[in-house]
């Protein structure tokens, strides 16, 4: 405290920190994974429709989606200054607030995700000593289609919501842009695809040439292209707005967040998966290579959330 007017610590513009970045990542991962799982189920071939077995990708999504959102929400609750009063947010709603709308969406999304997981994983439950949950899964079975559709719609909401949450703040030029929800939804999809692949390969021992797996794999390139386009749009919006908004572009060239962006988001997140496509098919489709590429994709999305949270809050209008 060297100023006569007092301590400046409370004026740090970075209010939300890495815990929130992890929450944003987890919410995107959860939504993206279940969107891909359900999406692929709706677009499966006639042959697959005859089988009563669940695909490994859907089973992976059914595990990832509720676990990721629960971990994310745990981060969120323990970041509150009054974590044991979190229930206040469940009974008081300001419908002008994006966060209140998000709470409502999550309130429906989280239990539906668990219900859907019980349905999809019904055959695995006894193996995991969770056989006592089978009757619940049986009760839910007739409502599968309704739960699936509702969950899909809510997942789009949850995936985009985190973007709306931080774009609602007009104090920060980098956050207060319309592309942020779309960018978060799309990068959530790429994280979801990568996580589905890892879990399907490791837990359900799916063959690396599996039909569903390669279908999901074909989504990767277009999703990544859209993600890059949204990022480009974000920076263009800042550049052409000028003034304080354009100053935020300095986050791309200076400071630790510039390294996080170029190394984490661009190098690891986009570079490694794109370069891996140049590898000969034989080595590219090995389990190890696929898992490594998926992990670099996940790292890239995690880095993107950190970059947006920190760089976004560092520049203020």
């Amino acid at each position: 405290m060297n100023n006569i007017w007092g301590d400046m610590a409370q004026y740090d513009p970075v209010t939300w920190n890495w815990i929130i970045a992890i929450y944003l990542f987890m919410a995107g991962l959860s939504a993206g994974s279940i969107l891909i799982g359900i999406g692929l189920r709706w677009y499966r071939s006639e042959d697959d429709r005859k089988s009563t077995k669940e695909s490994a990708i859907l089973k992976a999504a059914a595990i990832i989606s509720p676990i990721a959102i629960s971990l994310g929400l745990a981060c969120l609750v323990f970041d509150l200054t009054k974590p044991f009063h979190f229930w206040l947010i469940l009974i008081n709603y300001n419908f002008e607030s994006v966060m209140a709308l998000g709470v409502l969406a999550l309130l429906a999304y989280s239990p539906l995700g668990i219900a859907y997981a019980l349905i999809v994983l019904r055959d695995e439950l006894p193996r995991w000593k969770l056989g006592f949950l089978l009757p619940v899964a049986q009760v839910l079975m007739p409502f599968r289609k309704a739960i699936e559709v509702l969950l899909f719609i809510l997942a789009i909401g949850v995936g985009a919501y985190t973007g709306f949450l931080i774009s609602a703040m007009n104090a920060y030029p980098m956050l207060n842009t319309a592309v942020l929800p779309a960018l978060f939804l799309v990068s959530g999809l790429s994280a979801g695809a990568a996580a589905n692949l890892v879990v399907a390969l490791l837990m359900f021992n799916v063959d690396s040439h599996d039909k569903e797996l390669s279908k999901m794999h074909r989504l990767e390139l277009p999703v990544m292209a859209i993600e890059m386009m949204f990022l480009f749009m974000l920076f263009c919006a800042l550049y052409f707005k000028g003034g304080a908004a354009a100053l935020a572009l300095a986050s791309l060239t200076t400071g630790v967040w510039a390294s996080v962006f170029w190394i984490g988001v661009v190098g690891i997140g986009f570079g490694i998966p794109l370069l891996s496509m140049l590898m000969p098919a034989s080595s590219r489709h090995t389990k190890t290579a696929m898992i490594m590429v998926a992990c670099s994709g996940l790292t890239g999305v995690l880095a993107l959330r950190h970059f947006i949270i920190y760089a976004g809050q560092s520049y203020i209008y």
Partner: protein, 200 residues
Amino acid sequence: MSKRLIMIHDENKCIGCQACNIACRSENGTPDEVTRLQVRVEGPFGDAPNLHFKYNRVSCQQCEDAPCVKVCPTGAAYVGEDGLVSIKAEKCVGCMYCVAACPYKVRFMNPETKVADKCNFCKETRLAKGELPACVTACPTDALIFGDANDPSSEVVKILNTKPSYQDKTHLGTKPRLYRIPTKRGGSSHEQYLGRYGAI
């Protein structure tokens, strides 16, 4: 007709003595590590010998279109019947959305109550008794003027009608109720100030 309570900070009269800062702290029992009100002495600006300082009051601007109220998920941040932006402590969970959303960065988490805190023009302690906010009373140079802008005979209206004034970050559409009268010293015209502080 409803009141529109505003505050004017005359940066011409202000000497950056922090009497307001201390009075605020004592009136509101603000914990040591945080503050509701600072007057930052910025500068010097201009060329010698015409140097001058800027006295920048940093406190809640009592926005008429307050971003903190819009984002608060529980309605803990609200605009009362008196038009003032206040906080219902019993509804606040400490999500810090309002702290992040405030373009003036004047909200903070009170380390004792764990609730979002800020200036409320001494609404409960002094306005309720018909007194002026503590900072206004304590100011030795009468640099702070407080009153109802909807009352044509009030001092604040007379000042706003006769002196140049500006508000901070009006381009964000928040309509702050803290008005500032820029310094004329040091050979700078007030238009230069508008460029420097008002309309960036």
